[in-house]
């Protein structure tokens, strides 16, 4: 049995997340993946924005920074530029990273700065009461979509791939072992890593969409989950509405701060 206590600020528990919330499953998966890295706790820097996901940093016994809505990635960028030796992990959500923080998300991916972004995608703004987010599926209900949601959704994996992230993966809270594995792979990547984890918000999303228990919501996630390998052999119509999981990109490209030091610092100091 894995002992989480070493990594948690136990006096900050119980957490603020609702009973049965998937965020706890992600937090535990992240802890197991970080443990596998064998990092000293002092060397880990956890940065978050605002929202349910972003409360994760307060429970973790690392260096931790709870920033502004949408801005975790640029705060983390400054930290990485100032102290590249820190292992910087960003905890964020679908609203935090792809609505208000969308610009920062794509530009950090483009630079390939060594940040590992663990994105809790619960398809809704949970903390503020269930307003629709960039990943709320079309036709579903939200507090600001009382007649049904009309916006097309972001595919966060496609967004990260298009922006140039060097590690891109998706998993779900219905498959914690796979989640742990892909987070671990992301942590190993020296560059910008995006791990989207689809989570359940039965309180703010499920209740408006005939899935009021955690079980119903996790079943909803599980029933739509398809591995990347399997999805490749499916027709486009069949893939519609599915959560395709797995690693979508895992490649090596020069890391931003290392490149800066190699190409800018050395030149400026008369080296090369």
């Amino acid at each position: 049995m894995f002992d989480y206590a070493e990594y948690l600020r136990l006096d900050k528990l119980p957490h603020i997340w609702c009973y049965g919330c998937g965020n706890g499953i992600i937090l535990k998966g992240a802890i197991r993946a970080i443990d596998k890295m064998g990092w000293e706790k002092d060397s880990v820097m956890a940065v978050s924005g605002i929202g349910c996901s972003s409360r994760a940093t307060g429970y973790l016994d690392f260096n931790s920074l709870h920033t502004l809505h949408g801005r975790a990635i640029p705060f983390a960028t400054g930290i990485k530029m100032a102290k590249p030796e820190l292992n910087v992990i960003v905890f964020t959500g679908d609203g935090d990273a792809t609505a208000i923080g969308g610009n920062h998300f794509i530009h950090a991916a483009r630079r390939n700065i060594n940040l590992t972004v663990i994105l809790f995608n619960n398809n809704i703004y949970g903390m503020t009461g269930g307003q629709y987010s960039p990943t709320t599926p079309k036709g579903y209900f939200a507090s600001t979509a009382p007649y049904g949601h009309i916006d097309p959704s972001f595919d966060i994996v496609e967004l990260a791939l298009g922006a140039g992230a060097t590690f891109v993966a998706r998993s779900t809270v219905a498959n914690p072992r796979e989640m742990e594995k892909v987070i671990h792979e992301g942590l190993k990547n020296k560059g910008f890593s995006l791990i989207e984890v689809v989570s359940n918000c039965h309180e703010r999303f499920g209740k408006r969409n005939k899935m009021k228990s955690p079980y119903e919501m996790i079943e909803w996630i599980r029933s739509r989950s398809v591995s990347k390998v399997k999805a490749e052999s499916m027709e486009a119509e069949e893939r519609e509405g599915k959560i395709i999981t797995g690693i979508f990109r895992q490649e090596t490209r020069p890391e931003y701060v290392e490149t800066y030091d190699e190409l800018v610092l050395k030149k400026a100091r008369g080296g090369i």
């Binding site: 900050k12 706790k41 002092d42 060397s43 820097m45 940065v47 940093t57 307060g58 016994d61 690392f62 260096n63 931790s64 920074l65 709870h66 920033t67 502004l68 801005r71 990635i73 640029p74 705060f75 983390a76 960028t77 400054g78 930290i79 990485k80 530029m81 100032a82 102290k83 030796e85 820190l86 610009n103 920062h104 530009h107 701060v257 800066y260 800018v264 610092l265 030149k267 400026a268 100091r269």
Partner: protein, 372 residues
């Protein structure tokens, strides 16, 4: 005597920042401040620091807050519209008590306004631009040499009080060239190294109302948030804690007002006519004052160098002895409004101009003659 350099205002700002120990600059281009970023891009890597051009001003200020928390003296530079985008994070810096410097080279606004023209339209944005109640430190030099030394003071104050410092310049100051004597003896304030690991580290334990916060990655794991927090750094939104910390954050400034404030007085003692003016505009006011003095008119200039906290006590005493106080500024009367708190309407005369030009000495003299 130190080396003499012929510098542009923006260049002096960057060089002064380097002298103060700048290690990180995150910025986004905007006229008329861009040379500050350009100079930092050139200078920082020469001394092992790092520069990044971020995707916008919000990201720029966020990056410098992160870098400061990780132990690097940090700065960004912008102009009015970019400064507006930075306001939320500026509030974060004040709340979480993080030292950094934000330079705002003021141009004509609102909106895109007149990017290559000067104004002093952000005096109040500096004071009240961010949300909520908060204390503010803002400096505003008048010349290129003063820019060099005041930006060093800005860093020193930021580090000493663990508070963001707003450094106001204007388009004239940013773009003009003057000689600067680079002195050897300059005092630079270094952040105290916090190493204690006895018991649980409390990043917001206070010493004289100023938190003793360590840098990230130096062996003390702690939490920082923009929520109201207690000494441990974790959220505490009890009414008692909020009131206590707001009172303390204001007290941090109010109890050190003499250390923070700085102003210049020139012209006649006990003047009948007192001219109040800041930044480059004050140089025009001083020229007008000299001319008035040579004509036998008792006039003086009061120039706040620290704009916030406003040097109210001294100005109030000077104003009490004067017949008329003319507040000369390239805006609609932002400093004049502040002066109205302690100078009567009969005595106070705002002199304002919004045509993207400095108010000339002749115009100031004309205004003075009109009230004599």
């Amino acid at each position: 005597m130190g080396e003499i350099k012929f510098l542009q205002g923006n260049e002096a700002c960057a060089l002064g920042a380097m002298r103060a120990g700048l290690r990180f600059f995150g910025g986004y281009p905007i006229t008329p401040s861009s040379e500050i970023a350009e100079q930092c891009a050139r200078l920082l890597p020469c001394s092992g620091g790092r520069f990044i051009q971020m995707e916008d001003e919000i990201a720029s200020i966020a990056s410098i807050i992160g870098a400061s928390l990780a132990g690097s003296k940090s700065m960004t530079a912008t102009s009015g519209p970019g400064f507006s985008l930075m306001q939320e994070a500026l509030g974060y810096g004040i709340m979480a008590e993080i030292p950094f410097v934000v330079v705002n080279v003021m141009r004509g606004g609102p909106s895109t306004g007149h990017p290559t023209g000067p104004s002093q339209g952000d005096i109040m944005q500096a004071r009240w631009g961010t949300h909520g109640d908060h204390p503010v430190i803002a400096l505003y030099p008048e010349s290129v040499p003063e820019t060099y030394y005041e930006i060093i003071r800005a860093f020193n104050l930021a580090e000493r009080f663990r508070q963001p410092v707003i450094f106001l310049m204007d388009e004239i100051l940013g773009k003009m060239n003057e000689s600067v004597e680079i002195k050897d003896d300059i005092s630079v304030f270094e952040r105290e190294k916090i190493q204690s690991r006895d018991g649980r580290y409390r990043p917001y334990a206070m010493k004289d109302d100023i938190p003793l916060t360590a840098n990230y990655g130096e062996g003390l794991r702690f939490h920082v948030t923009g929520l109201f927090h207690d000494e441990t750094g974790f959220p505490d939104v009890s009414g008692e804690n909020i009131q206590k910390n707001m009172d303390r954050m204001y007290r941090k400034i109010e109890n050190n007002i003499e250390e923070l404030q700085k102003w210049e007085e020139s012209g006649a003692d006990n003047p009948e006519i007192l001219l109040v003016s800041a930044g480059t505009q004050a140089r025009s006011a001083k020229m007008a004052c000299q001319e008035l003095n040579s004509r036998g008119i008792s006039a003086a200039v009061f120039r706040p160098v620290t704009v916030w906290p406003f040097p109210e006590k001294r100005l109030s005493a000077l104003a009490a002895r004067s017949k008329k106080v003319l507040v000369v500024e390239m805006n609609k009367g932002q400093l004049a409004d502040e002066c109205r708190k302690f100078i009567s309407d009969e005595k106070l005369i705002p002199v304002n101009q919004l045509n993207s030009e400095m108010i000339s000495p002749d115009e100031i003299i004309r205004q003075v003659e009109g009230v004599l």
